[in-house]
Each structure stands twice: as C-alpha cells, then as structure tokens.
C-alpha cells in the first residue's frame, strides 16, 4: 500500500492531486465521507481531474466535461473514450493508503507515465 496523503489534507467535495507517484493520482473525499483514488490525468487531453466538479460519485473533467465514475473509472459523456485507472483506497489512522492499480494507464496524447 502507498500512503498518498492524510485525511486532513482533503476537503469534502473536492479532489487533491498527488504527484509523488507516476502518473499522478487524484484523491477525492466525497460528501458521503468515502475516499476515492483514480488516475489524475484525463484520458482525452492533459488536465487534472482533481480540479474537476465532484458530484454523485463522478468527477467532471474541468477542461471538456467528460464525467469519470470514481468506482469504475469509466467516462460517461464528453470527448474522453478511455477509462482512468481506479486505485483501491482506505483510510488507516487518518492516513490515505492506496493499492496502486497494476493495469497500464490510459493517458492522453503527449503525456507519458514516468
């Protein structure tokens, strides 16, 4: 498990970009208190999903409004076709830990993972 951040670093309803891992991960604290981690980079064009609008278990990319499900990573509408990877996240003693997906990341043109 990787430690990404502390729970106290997160704001309910908002995301946090963590770039200590490659490619960067977006961590969200949903309004219902659950914590989610997905790849931060939109699969359509280079944009940080952590800055997107979080609502109803999905985050809307701030650039072109593809909505990615936080549980499946699959985009619903908008120009993005590929899914972002979902990383299993849990909170232990106030720290956000994730098990990083071993699947190959789906990154937009011009973005490399390392």
């Amino acid at each position: 498990m990787h430690r990404l951040c502390s729970l106290s670093d997160l704001t309910p309803g908002e995301g946090l970009r963590v770039d200590s891992v490659a490619p960067p991960v977006a961590v969200f604290l949903a309004e219902d208190g659950t914590v989610h981690a997905i790849d931060d980079t939109c699969t359509h064009q280079d944009a940080s999903l952590a800055e997107g609008w979080l609502e109803d278990g999905a985050v809307e990319c701030p650039l072109h409004e593809s909505r990615f499900c936080l549980r499946s990573g699959v985009p619903d509408g908008g120009p993005a076709r590929g899914a972002v990877r979902v990383h299993r996240a849990e909170v232990v003693d106030g720290e956000v830990l994730v098990e990083l997906s071993t699947a190959a990341p789906c990154l937009p043109p011009g973005v490399v993972s390392a």
Binding site: P24, T41, D46, A47, S48, W53, E60, L63
Partner: protein, 375 residues
C-alpha cells in the same frame, strides 16, 4: 442682460447647478467612471439573485464587466470578466449556472473562486501560479440583502461611505434595522433604460420641488410633497401619509402585511435615502423599494428597481400590483423628465448651469461631493 445679472451674487434664493457639460462631456463621464464608479462600493444585485452554488450574473461597474457568482461554500465572489491568457470574455451569457468559468478561446478554466484550475497542457507548466493567473478578484460586501462590489484595490470603509449616507439621512444607522431589508423578498423587479446622465436622476430623486407637477398619484398619498420639500431635506423624519390614505399604493388603498418592527414614528410615513453614488432606498410601512443605477454612457443609465415585501407576502402570491404601480409610475414620470432635460444640457442656455431653489439647496452637497471625487 439677464445673464449679466446672474453673474452677480443673488440674495440667497438661488444656488447654481453644475454646468451643462457635466452632463454631456464624455471626458467628464470617463473621469467619473475612473474616480467614482471604480472607487466606491457599488450595489450590483440582490443576494437572492444567486440562490445556488455556481449561479452567476454579469454586471457593469465603471468601465468593467464583472462576474458576480456564488461558490460551492455558498460565498459570493466577484471577478473581472477577462481571461488572464489572451483577454477574451470568459462569461458570455448575462446570467447562468456554472461549475467552472471556462474561456471559449483556449479553454483556460477557472473554478468558482476564480483560481486557474485547468488549461490545455497546464500540467506541463508547473511554474504557472494558479492563483496569480486566476481571474482578477473584486472586493465584495453583503449588506441589506444586496451584493456590493468595489473595484479599488483598497476599498473605502463600508461603514464610512455606504452606512455614512444612511446616518446622514436617518440620524443613526440602527434606525434602518426596523425595515429588515435583508430579510425581505423580491416581489417585483422592473428595469428602465433611461436616456439621461446619472446625475440628473440623482438630483431628481433628491428633491420634491417637482412632485406636485409630475407626480399626481404620489402627492395624493403624501400631500405634504405639494409644498416642494423632500423627505431628503430632513434628518430622521419621514413624510406623512395624507388623512384617509390607507397605504402606499397607486390609489391610496390598503397595502399588504406591514413590517412588524416599525416604531410609531415610522408608520404611515415614507422615508427616502440616497446612497452615493447609485442607490436609492425608499421605505414605507409594508415594503421597501431599492433602485440600483448602472451608468453606461454620459447620456444613458440603466436602472433596476426592486420592490421588497415580507417573505410571507411573496410566498403567498399576494397581489402587490397596486403597491408596485405607485412607484413604477413615479419612476416613469421622473425618468421622462430626466430624458427631456438631457438634450438641453448641451444648450448654450445651460452652459453655466441652472438654478437650485431653497427646497433643492441640499443637492449642492451632492455636487460638491462629485467635484471632490473628480479632483
């Protein structure tokens, strides 16, 4: 020869107005935009106009177009509507609901707090400070249920300016609390596109020498206006309703549910306050009328007028049309007078201005204030 006589000091009855060019010269208006509308607290909209997170409206303040919006935490924010990349208007609709503000040119994207959050390839430009390249913020205050903005980097004291005008008229700011203006609800809004300089509208609002001539309905309800002395020449005193008048309505019939906190000397009376530079507030026993002016050119002023009532009155769908019609008629009568005055401002007959009679002498303080602001 008459002109020569007027150059001599007169024995007190007549004071001069501003000269005609103050109402027609685009350079004067440009200075006013810079030194008045861009430095003072300007009342732009009612907080209820933005009920939900992401709601926004565009307003004109001085030379600037300002986006006023509500963020996810419910707080009001205001920004200049200029993309920090290449300057395109970021918001292009006059009002709407947004999850972000995205420029339609290169997709620079700002969150509801104005921070730059996305742009094509932005993650490859880590040196770009997201706050420094955010939308340029504008100072915001909420008072009286309205959003006030100030373009100045260091705004003047709200207490000293806005509340100062209230104290000048009412004697003390706390007196105003009885009308509970922040708690009232919008019953009706009417917009007027007035082809006149904003100062003509202020001057008109400040005096009642014209009331008996152009406001028959208002003078029926408040007969004392027929003597020409305005509510705005007194401190802390409202103008009394006439005998037999039941309410502040177009025909003097009863109004709606009265505001519950008014004291005996506030009932059956009409109070009026001018908050410089562009706000008028009229208070009567069952409602409050708020005018916001948006000067758009030296000879043009957009005015929005709100009629505010108790929430239960608005929620019940009570008929407020007779209340609204009284001041709507007053507005149309006043603005028609201002529009017939504006074309004469460029006449040689008005080059040195006109006359203020004793019932209008208090307008001189407004002229002194304008001169002082323009330096």
């Amino acid at each position: 020869m008459i002109i020569e006589q007027l150059e001599e000091p007169l024995p007190g009855s007549i004071l001069p107005t501003l000269g005609g060019s103050w109402y027609t010269d685009p350079d004067v208006f440009a200075l006013e935009q810079e030194r008045i509308f861009s430095t003072q607290w300007m009342c732009v909209l009612r907080g209820d106009d933005l009920p939900a997170a992401g709601d926004y409206r565009l307003v004109q303040v001085g030379r600037e177009q300002v986006v006023v919006s509500r963020n996810r935490r419910g707080e009001i924010r205001a920004f200049l509507n200029v993309c920090r990349h290449r300057g395109m208007r970021v918001c292009t609709e006059p009002a709407g609901t947004a999850r972000k503000f995205q420029c339609g040119y290169h997709a620079w994207t700002y969150d509801l707090d104005g921070k730059l959050v996305a742009a094509p390839n932005l993650t490859k430009m880590p040196d770009v400070d997201r706050d420094a390249y955010g939308l340029r913020g504008v100072a915001v205050q909420e008072w009286m249920g309205y959003v006030w903005v100030c373009l100045a980097p260091e705004p003047p004291s709200f207490t000293g300016t806005v509340l100062g005008d209230l104290v000048t008229r009412l004697g003390e700011a706390e007196t105003f609390d009885a009308w509970q203006v922040a708690d009232l609800r919008l019953g009706k809004r009417i917009a007027y596109d007035v082809h006149a300089n904003w100062k003509l509208i202020i001057e008109n609002f400040m005096e009642c020498y014209h009331c008996a001539t152009i406001h028959p309905e208002l003078t029926e309800v408040i007969p004392e206006f027929a003597d020409g002395w305005a509510a705005q020449t007194y401190v802390g005193r409202g103008a009394e309703f006439g005998d037999g008048v039941e309410g502040f309505t177009v025909d003097g019939s009863a109004g709606v549910t009265p505001l519950p906190l008014l004291t005996a000397d506030q009932e059956r009376r009409y109070f009026a306050v001018t908050i410089k530079p562009t706000v008028f507030v009229n208070m009567v026993p069952d409602h409050v009328v708020v005018h916001r002016m948006f000067p758009t050119a030296v000879d043009r002023t957009y005015v929005e007028c709100d009629w505010l009532f108790l929430p239960e009155v608005v929620e019940a769908g009570t008929d407020v049309s007779r209340s609204v019609e009284l001041f709507d008629r007053v507005n149309r009568q006043d603005f028609e007078a201002c529009e017939r005055t504006q074309p004469a401002m460029s006449s040689v007959a008005y080059a040195d201005g006109g006359s203020l009679v004793p019932a209008e002498h208090h307008i001189e303080a407004f002229h002194a204030w304008v001169r002082e602001q323009l330096g």
